[in-house]
């Protein structure tokens, strides 16, 4: 069963990702190339929610998928096998993506796909653990991340807002665990929180009511938001990388600061709780019309399709804007990354991102109609 709340949020997450990547890869230093500054302004802040939301929803969707497998009577062994195969597939896809899209020198940049793959592998055992243990893991991931960044000298790996590593075992492993784009510490906590939320809110067993209501989820998000504010107020005491002026104190995505983690988890849970309350069919009702807020069928279909093809859109939008950029860079200056982050004004790249996203709608409708393979269908074919 699909949940419209998740479809809407995943659509929002992938839309923000498309926008962020178009703008940051094509325009981030366009206006300030000489000074090396970062031109983005406070209106760009919500874009920091894209990756946390995407990874959080991975856990929520996995919990729902797990419930479906259990209701269908799929054996535990088979569920484990499918989970591990999906994890390995996503890690493999992540490496292929890094090599073909980010070019071979960024093979081990530890992007979001390898994180989601790792999360899948982790799910295969985390799902068996009693509730307090995953919470402990989440707490450890959040608590140790700043300490480990201090131990590993995080700023040394980051030059001009991107992860710069050597092809050595230590750098590769440290990138995976602590200093990459989306390292295990702390980014793995998002999918695990998603799994716990999904289990509590969406995966009620049979006629049993869910353990957590949407109101409960929103209340929990309120507590986390307060914690985020407290963490932000305490930011001056922290010795980590300071955030740029236009962000709240202590709010940094790279590295993911405690304020950022608390704030994004709170925002994700709040949005999920709110949308679940408004657009999902209340629990125990078989009537599709019982949702509090009815959206037109065409809008629901749009969210549904975009959500189902979010992995394909994630892969495709990189190809769509980076390959032309690399080709143009080689053609004009003999260096693929010559125009990276400095190719056009932000308004133009944002417009291109919107156009790309709009073009995805008919494209994936056409692919669905002709039953043509997408990243999702290939993953299911390989893993299930």
């Amino acid at each position: 069963m699909r949940h419209l709340s998740i479809d809407i949020l995943r659509t929002a997450a992938i839309f923000m990702m498309v926008l962020v990547h178009f703008v940051e890869n094509l325009s981030a230093t366009y206006d300030t190339q000489d000074s090396g500054g970062h031109p983005l302004t406070p209106w760009w802040l919500p874009s920091g929610l894209a990756a946390p939301l995407f990874t959080l929803l991975t856990g929520v969707s996995y919990a729902i998928w797990l419930g479906v497998q259990q209701r269908r009577g799929v054996s535990e062994d088979e569920v484990n096998r499918r989970t591990v195969r999906r994890g390995l597939f996503l890690i493999g896809l992540g490496f292929a993506f890094n090599i073909f899209v980010w070019l071979p020198e960024d093979t081990f940049n530890w992007d979001v796909l390898t994180l989601i793959g790792t999360a899948m592998l982790a799910f295969s055992f985390v799902r068996h653990l009693p509730m307090p243990v995953p919470l402990l893991i989440v707490a450890l991931l959040a608590a140790f991340a700043p300490l480990l960044r201090a131990t590993t000298d995080y700023p040394a790996y980051w030059q001009n807002y991107h992860f710069d590593y050597d092809f050595t075992l230590s750098d590769v492993l440290l990138g995976y665990l602590v200093v990459g784009y989306f390292p295990v510490f702390p980014w793995l906590l998002y999918p695990i929180v998603g799994l716990l939320v999904g289990r509590g809110v969406f995966a009620g067993v049979g006629s049993q009511p869910p353990a957590l209501t949407s109101r409960g989820l929103m209340a929990a998000s309120g507590v986390l938001a307060l914690a985020a504010v407290a963490s932000s107020l305490l930011a001056p005491l922290q010795t980590e990388t300071a955030s740029v002026d236009w962000r709240p104190p202590g709010w940094t995505m790279f590295p993911a600061s405690t304020t950022y983690i608390l704030g994004t988890v709170a925002a994700g849970m709040l949005l999920l709780g709110l949308l679940h309350h408004l657009v999902d069919v209340p629990d125990g009702s078989d009537d599709r019309r019982a949702a509090r807020l009815q959206l037109p069928a065409s809008v629901t279909a749009f969210f549904n399709r975009t959500s189902r093809h979010s992995l394909s859109i994630y892969l495709l939008h990189h190809v769509a804007h980076l390959w032309p950029l690399w080709i143009y860079g080689v053609a004009s200056q003999g260096e693929p990354t010559a125009h990276w982050q400095a190719f056009m004004p932000a308004w133009a790249s944002a417009g291109l991102g919107v156009v790309f996203f709009a073009a995805c709608v008919p494209l994936f409708a056409w692919l669905d109609r002709h039953d043509l393979p997408t990243a999702e269908s290939v993953m299911r074919w390989v893993c299930d």
Binding site: L129, I137, T152, L169, L174
Partner: protein
């Protein structure tokens, strides 16, 4: 309520026509909180021959059946010059005035006993569908069954309570009749016999044993599961902490190797 009437007056409300006006209806309190109407008709010697039939009809006006045991109600007893008609909600006796107290005592005791036994039997009957549904939990408990733990606990409590009530009732049922025999003792004994109280008690005991064994097993499984779960949680907590420590150590090593 007691309805006394003078011999010449018309029968008081609640007293059937065709019985002497000196008859009276008494309400016997029962343990279940309901009441049992007893019509006492004093024997005068000039009563009509169909007086017993009138009593039978009056008692049968409030039909109560015991279909489970194929017992036809009301029950008619004749002993020691007493005509007695009994049903769970009403009874009537045709007896001399001096025997009324014994009859009242016997019927109060028996009606209470029978009502309690019936309530226990009803409880057992209601427990069987749940028993069928709960069979898997007597074999094993899992995370999926965690949510029914409170329900199982409530059912366990219900069965144990029924068992306790039956044990107390059995004591009453099996106590020997008073010696030398009394009218009250004899009425009680005959009614127990006619309503198959001892057989019903034995059957209820057998059924409750099955139910009790089942919910004992469920309780054991649930308890084992909770203990294992707690141990499991503790083990995993230790494993996670050790794994984190190892990871921290490895990261520290890697970090030093890098420099």
């Amino acid at each position: 309520m007691t309805a006394d009437s003078s011999p010449d007056s018309t029968p008081a409300p609640g007293i059937p026509a065709g019985v002497p006006a000196t008859s009276r209806v008494e309400m016997l309190p029962t343990a279940a909180g309901s009441s049992h109407a007893l019509l006492l008709v004093p024997r005068t010697g000039d009563e009509s021959p169909d007086a017993a039939e009138v009593l039978h009809r009056w008692v049968a006006e409030t039909p109560v059946s015991r279909p489970r045991h194929r017992i036809e109600l009301p029950i008619l007893l004749r002993l020691y010059n007493v005509d007695l008609v009994w049903s769970p909600s009403r009874s009537a006796a045709f007896a001399s005035e001096e025997r009324c107290a014994s009859i009242r005592e016997a019927l109060t005791d028996f009606t209470n006993l029978e009502a309690e036994l019936t309530a226990i039997e009803d409880g057992i009957t209601a427990a069987w569908p749940a028993y069928e549904a709960d069979l898997p939990y007597a074999y094993g408990f899992s995370d999926a069954s965690f949510s029914v733990r409170d329900t199982l606990l409530a059912r366990y409590g219900t069965v144990k309570s029924l068992q306790g009530r039956l044990a107390r009732l059995t004591k009453q049922i099996t106590q020997p009749a008073p010696q030398p025999p009394t009218l009250a003792g004899q009425i009680g004994e005959r009614l127990r016999e006619r309503l198959r109280v001892e057989e019903r008690d034995e059957a209820a005991d057998g059924e409750l044993e099955v139910l009790s064994d089942h919910y004992d097993a469920c309780g054991q499984r649930a308890s084992d599961f909770m203990i294992a779960r707690r141990e499991n949680m503790l083990s995993w907590t230790i494993i996670v902490l050790l794994a984190t420590e190892t990871l921290l150590f490895a990261i520290d090593l890697l970090s030093n190797a890098g420099t």
